[in-house]
Symmetry: C2
């Protein structure tokens, strides 16, 4: 382990994400932990599908080479399940963070059951039903994108509404890919915004509606990247559309969220909380 | 902690995912660990945005209620950063798995730096550049979907090719959402499959091409869900298209992968490895 007297800020450290399979879980927790350290630049290396002794040995060599080059031990974030390969890496010159073994013994005790020690269960096709539901939901979202197929609304779990470029499509796709949620969207356009009434086509689906809003300044910026110097991207137009969209939400008691400062992950978490969709 | 003598298989256990923010990381590692236990059914409850004492107290109550109802302690997978709220939950009647604190002290020692203890850094907008790149890549993928805009090929990081329904679009979207990779796709249609030559439009971009293939039986099944009893979904047609697509990959030294048994996460991990795209 590195002696803290030998390290300093503004340093560069190498980080390895190691896994028998995709490495997505190792990345998720590893990156989450790394965000807690500022002033250090991390050189990230992804070592996925480490499923043979030869590959594990190559990892150890890469780790040791990085250690020599950096002059400080790399961090290794691992969801490796194979015990032999884990042992090899824990004996390397890096600092080994074992996301698997650290928790699995305590879980075995608590559940009164032995773990199966099988790799790649989460991001593989072992849970076929769940996987197919995710892929079908992606296709559903694409087919019903931007209100092009309102026929889909009765099959949708949720319908996002909002003005053009308020974040509907990426959020729908994220909900589909991550959770298999069937998400449609409907863009509020000029003809919908002339009144505070809900567009007729949405009225039968009121319980599925969720509104997105956004600051007019941010909206102008996003729209300008597509079509600069048009009425569409003018601040005045953005202000007017956003105000009228919010009037519709208020008048019809549609729950809504301001997406200006939050990510699609956060929007999704708020929506799935609200609708108990997970 | 549960006494293993009191637990049995075919049991149902309640699992809580707790976080100050989205809970995506807690879910990723928690679910990954749960896949290692068979014969137990897990009732999963997501408690995200736990950022006040009142909400933390509600969590503790939910955990304790589940414990009484199940007759065994729930598992709590937590990325909670706030120390006070973590302490409250660790004193509940559940078994507390602390994904944050377990590793953060060792990291502080190794990096010689104090962690900032700020919540929601990974899935928020703190890394704006990275986030914008992900959203732009989603829009890029959508705009260039199914070869509709070949103009995009020069800006693409990668171009997936394959017959209709071989998995190109969901993979492109996943690469965009997860890693901000600009992925285009081009469908190999009848007129492309009449020869082993690479379609003219793809020739300038050979170094960006990656082929997808799939078993004809699986392809027939997928196509039948869309259009059953058509030539398009017949086994003969699927066999012929797949064989000729693979001929193109072989003749032009295009790397390719069989998607029949693997998920979009696994396809993505293989491709990003191959092209060093992460």
């Amino acid at each position: 382990m590195a002696d803290s007297n030998n390290t300093k800020n503004n340093q560069t450290r190498t980080v390895f994400f190691v896994s028998d399979r995709t490495g997505i879980t190792a990345e998720a927790l590893g990156n989450s932990l790394l965000t807690q350290f500022e002033g250090i630049s991390f050189n990230k290396i992804h070592l996925s599908f480490i499923d043979t002794e030869k590959k594990a040995q190559d990892c150890v060599e890469q780790i040791n080479t990085a250690c020599t080059k950096d002059g400080s031990p790399p961090l290794i974030f691992s969801t490796q399940i194979n015990k032999q390969f884990r042992n090899m890496m824990s004996k390397s010159n890096g600092v080994f963070f074992d996301f698997f073994e650290t928790f699995i013994s305590k879980m075995e005790k608590s559940l009164g059951s032995k773990s199966i020690h099988a790799a790649g269960m989460l991001h593989g096709l072992h849970n076929n039903k769940n996987y197919n539901s995710r892929i079908n939901s992606v296709n559903f979202s694409l087919a019903s994108d931007d209100g092009m197929s309102v026929k889909s609304f009765d099959r949708a779990d949720i319908i996002l509404i909002g003005v053009s470029r308020s974040g509907k499509t990426p959020t729908c796709l994220f909900m589909a890919l991550q959770y298999g949620i069937k998400a449609s969207n409907y863009p509020l356009i000029e003809q919908d915004l002339g009144t505070t009434k809900l567009p007729k086509i949405l009225q039968p689906f009121k319980s599925k509606l969720f509104g997105l809003t956004i600051s007019p300044t941010r909206l102008r910026k996003i729209r300008s990247e597509r079509r600069s110097n048009t009425k569409y991207s003018s601040l005045q137009q953005c202000q007017s559309e956003v105000r009228r969209a919010e009037d519709i939400y208020h008048s019809n008691n549609i729950p809504f969220i301001d997406t200006t400062q939050i990510s699609i992950e956060e929007i999704t978490a708020k929506i799935t909380n609200k609708f108990s969709l997970r």
